[in-house]
């Protein structure tokens, strides 16, 4: 079998004109078909190859290599294939193992580099949130965004990763992830409902594995993105110590639990295989898992912590509290958009085989939705208020990106633009409802950007998924492509809505109960005196801008 695979691979390489293929190859048994049909060529040329055949393959001579290789034609040849037994020379085992490594290696590189891009989104969040806060809270807001990275990572390393991904195996893109092999499940309505994984605490034992490390890094930076959403909503009045405790718990338990249900082989992911609901809950890159989890937790925090002093008059009329630096805000939006090219395309967890070349489509969908969101949001504000508000245009840009995150791997470019256009208006409407009707003070608009539009993104998968994606022929264990209501599968929409109900009904409740307990035993909010003075000196011991002259604020408006 191995020899047959190798023969097919070599025949394909012959067609591709690689250095290996330039050596004598077995004659094809039949005339080659058209170039547009490479598979029959490979099949017709299939012939068992032996170690002896490989000995006839020669690479470039040392003297030729010494002259340099400006055309790149003699670099990367048979000479570069490592041999396990130098006396025996190149053997079939060496060749097959090298092919295997060369399938996994680009997946590792792709996933790691896109993970690095997602990590850089922390910088974007930090300056967006700090720019939208007042100067007197700049140090405090920046420090929350800085330390949420480490605090979240600590909780996730201790137990969060194990809960989320401890039962995710197998994953073919990253070499199998065999050590992540235990999911705790209960039997309900005649089916298994996966609840949480158990393998990978402290990344110890068998999870000291190269593939697991890639998965940990990528999932960790996603988790941190969710955590930093909450700091934006609760900025300018959140006790720093309470923020540490709240974020640690969120990174260790709240985020990983929903992450398991959606991405770790939990019950939401298996709604398709178990109950025939499309392909189960589908969230390509995390509109729900990352953004909505952050958004509904931010909503819980906004209710518990209450609005800033001066945000509402005694009659309940909201007052605008402008941020101190709009240039930071819009620069942060661009940094976030840059990082989103890691967030969405990276969520294939690979660049080679298994339909992963769709990364180009995912990237284009991402940029289109962001553009569409910024346009519709800007024009909404322009028409409604007479000016193209900069901060809301930035938020609309992010809303488009948030909304396309779940469907980016399943929809076409036209649908991406529609999803983004709706998101841009939706974020403006949601901000108005949150501020005026619910009377909740969300400093950066995170509930609307990430919560509302995260949910819209989850729903849009169930509407717009066009059935054209093909990730190794199946998704969530259900053969075929993810297909939404507009393309014929109503069951997919039901699965998506169950995910929405879980976010609003369960994740919100979990977050609320924990943070309400923390409020009772520790206290989330600083004193009114500290809030009026600004949190920089009382909480952090230093001003963000020591040379600024800060304005005195009245206790009431």
């Amino acid at each position: 079998m191995k020899r047959l695979v190798l023969a097919v691979a070599l025949a394909w390489l012959t067609g591709a004109g690689s250095a290996v293929a330039q050596t004598p190859a077995p004659a094809p048994a039949a005339p080659p078909p058209a170039a547009a049909q490479p598979t029959p060529v490979a099949a017709s040329a299939a012939k068992a190859i032996t170690d002896e055949d490989l000995k006839s393959i020669s690479g470039p001579k040392p003297e030729d290599k010494a002259k340099g290789d400006p055309a790149g034609t003699i670099t990367g040849t048979v000479n570069d294939i490592p041999v396990s037994d130098s006396k025996k020379g190149l053997a079939l085992d060496d060749l097959v193992n090298t092919v295997g490594q060369n399938v996994i290696a680009p997946n590792f590189i792709w996933t790691l580099i896109t993970g690095f891009l997602v990590m850089f989104m922390q910088a974007g969040f930090a300056i967006v949130e700090t720019g939208l806060a007042r100067a007197k809270n700049a140090n405090h807001t920046m420090m929350m965004n800085f330390m949420v990275y480490g605090v979240g990572m600590l909780g996730y390393w201790i137990i969060g990763f194990a809960i989320q991904m401890g039962g995710v195996a197998p994953n073919t893109n990253l070499g199998g992830l065999a050590p992540l092999n235990h999911e705790v499940a209960i039997s309900l309505f005649g089916k298994n409902w996966g609840l949480f994984g158990t393998q990978g605490m402290f990344l110890g034992g068998a999870t000291y594995d190269v593939g697991v490390m890639v998965m940990f890094l990528f999932q960790m930076v996603f988790m941190d993105t969710a955590l930093t959403i909450v700091t934006g909503t609760a900025a300018e009045r959140w006790r720093y110590s309470a923020f540490i405790l709240s974020s640690l718990f969120m990174g260790a338990f709240i985020y990983p639990l929903f992450g398991n249900w959606a991405w770790g082989g939990g019950w939401l992911a298996t709604l398709g295989a178990s109950y025939g609901l499309g392909h189960g809950y589908c969230d390509f890159a995390g509109s729900g898992v990352v953004h909505s989890v952050g958004g509904v937790t931010a909503l819980a925090m906004a209710i518990i912590i209450g609005p800033r002093i001066g945000k509402y008059s005694r009659t309940g009329k909201p007052n605008a509290i402008p941020g101190h630096d709009i240039t930071l805000v819009l620069l942060g939006c661009f940094i976030l958009a840059f990082g989103w090219f890691g967030f969405n395309p990276g969520s294939t967890l690979g660049a080679a085989t298994s339909g992963n070349l769709r990364i180009s489509s995912v990237a284009v969908n991402t940029m289109l939705a962001g553009m569409a969101g910024s346009f519709s949001g800007m024009y909404y504000m322009w028409i409604r208020y007479g000016k193209p508000d900069a901060s809301m245009t930035g938020n609309a840009f992010l809303a488009g990106l948030v909304a396309i995150t779940a469907p980016s791997g399943f929809v076409n470019p036209m649908a991406s633009v529609i999803i983004g256009l709706i998101a841009g208006v939706l974020v403006c409407l949601s901000c108005e409802v949150i501020e005026r009707k619910a009377k909740l003070d969300d400093v950066v608009g995170a509930i609307s950007v990430h919560g509302t539009n995260g949910i819209w993104g989850v729903i849009s998968v169930g509407l717009f998924a066009d059935g054209r994606s093909n990730y190794a022929g199946a998704w969530n264990g259900v053969p075929g492509s993810v297909t939404g209501l507009f393309y014929g599968d109503a069951g997919q929409l039901v699965a998506q809505l169950i995910g929405v109900a879980t976010l609003i009904g369960f994740v919100f409740t979990f977050s609320f109960v924990f943070n309400a307990i923390l409020e009772a035993v520790w206290g989330h909010r600083v004193t009114p005196e500290v809030e009026l003075q600004g949190l920089d000196i009382p909480e952090m011991g230093a001003l963000g801008y020591p040379e600024f002259v800060l304005r005195e604020e009245a206790a009431t408006v």
């Binding site: 109503a490 369960f506 609320f512």
Partner: protein, 60 residues
């Protein structure tokens, strides 16, 4: 009232998640799930948030 709000919110989730066991037809499941979502939203914005707003800082 805050406790009632959180219970209603959680109940919405249980109704929606239970839809797969209560019904086999996707149309029926869809209706049940939408009811569950409405219940949860009602719990948050109709009960829980007003309970917290009673003592809001801006009313003092």
């Amino acid at each position: 009232m805050a406790f009632v709000g959180i219970v209603v919110t959680l109940a919405g989730f249980l109704v929606a998640a239970g839809s797969v066991g209560f019904a086999a037809a996707n149309g029926v499941r869809l209706v049940i799930v939408l009811l569950g979502i409405a219940l949860s939203l009602g719990g948050i914005f109709g009960i829980l948030n007003p309970a917290y707003q009673k003592d809001a800082v801006w009313k003092h």
